[in-house]
Amino acid sequence: MNLEPFISVATESTPHILFDPTSLQFEMKGESRPENAKAFYDPLIEWIKKFCEQSLPGKDFSSKLQLNVHFDYFSSSSAKYLMNIFARLEELYKSGSKIEICWIYNEIDIEMKESGEEFQKLLSIPFVFKVVKP
């Protein structure tokens, strides 16, 4: 796959993002409350579009593609873009690729777990929930 990894270094208001098509290491971690969610997430969505084009139909990855999502906080304006990202990965899943979303939450943050469950209700892609200590 001739696609460079997508990397975004965490700041106090934006998450660490690493989507590596070679190692299949996909992760988002930290806080997501960018000043302009569209400007922040559009490049990632463009990258996923290319990734999906190169992976469809039903690419059999050497191992399962797991997207690790571990937010301390994400704003409501980020939520719509997350939904867009998950929905694009779902297309790959529906075409036969092995993909799952691992939703990681802090044990004191039940709302974060519930947010993950709301995304899960909207998608057919498998979700795995993992609790961590603060």
Partner: protein, 186 residues
């Protein structure tokens, strides 16, 4: 209106903030720098006054969304003069068994009915209804109305209490929109 002597005015503010157990108050123009500074300040303050991690997290989550909503309201109402917008307000207080987050900003009178209907609709839903509304909003097409609804429903879901509001008439064109979110400590 005659202005109070600065010493009296300062003392009055101090007394009022004590009576209302205000932990943080800010008035001015909300931009990302200010929001980040307020968030850092509240993180420090909460670690001093709130032992329960769950409550601390909830207050933090709701506060960030409230501040971002204030910022977005400001961005949307660029036609209201910068002078008026620079008087938006945010306070966080802790009284008895609740935290109270209050924000205030100017709003065009013509937008009051829609804002009121939006809050009333959310207040009329139970927790399951709110979750469904949240799902509808995140999967809907991007629009200014939907984004505003999403922010409100997110705040309501996180707080678990009805949203409070009031509109104070300023003049024939604008009113001051006061928005209150309560978070139970127990």
């Amino acid at each position: 209106m005659e202005l109070k002597a600065p010493t009296n005015f300062t003392f009055d503010i101090h007394q009022m903030m004590r009576e209302h157990s205000v932990l943080l108050a800010f008035t001015g123009e909300f931009d990302m720098k200010i929001i980040n500074a307020l968030i850092t300040s509240v993180k420090m303050k909460m670690s001093e006054v709130e032992p329960a991690g769950k409550v601390k997290k909830k207050v933090y989550n709701v506060m960030v969304e409230c501040l971002e909503t204030l910022f977005r309201n400001y961005e949307e109402d660029q036609t209201v003069s910068k002078l008026i917008n620079s008087f938006s307000v945010f306070t966080l207080s802790r009284y008895k068994d609740q935290y109270s987050l209050l924000s205030g900003n100017y709003i065009f009178n013509e937008n009051i009915a829609a804002k009121k209907a939006q809050i009333e609709k959310i207040n009329g839903l139970n927790q399951e209804g709110k979750k469904k509304y949240f799902r509808d909003c995140i999967s809907a097409k991007e629009s200014k109305e939907r984004n505003s609804e999403l922010a409100m429903i997110d705040i309501a879901l996180k707080s678990g209490n009805p949203l409070g509001y009031d509109f104070k008439t300023v003049d024939s064109l604008t009113s001051f929109f006061v928005f209150q979110v309560k978070i139970n400590i127990r």
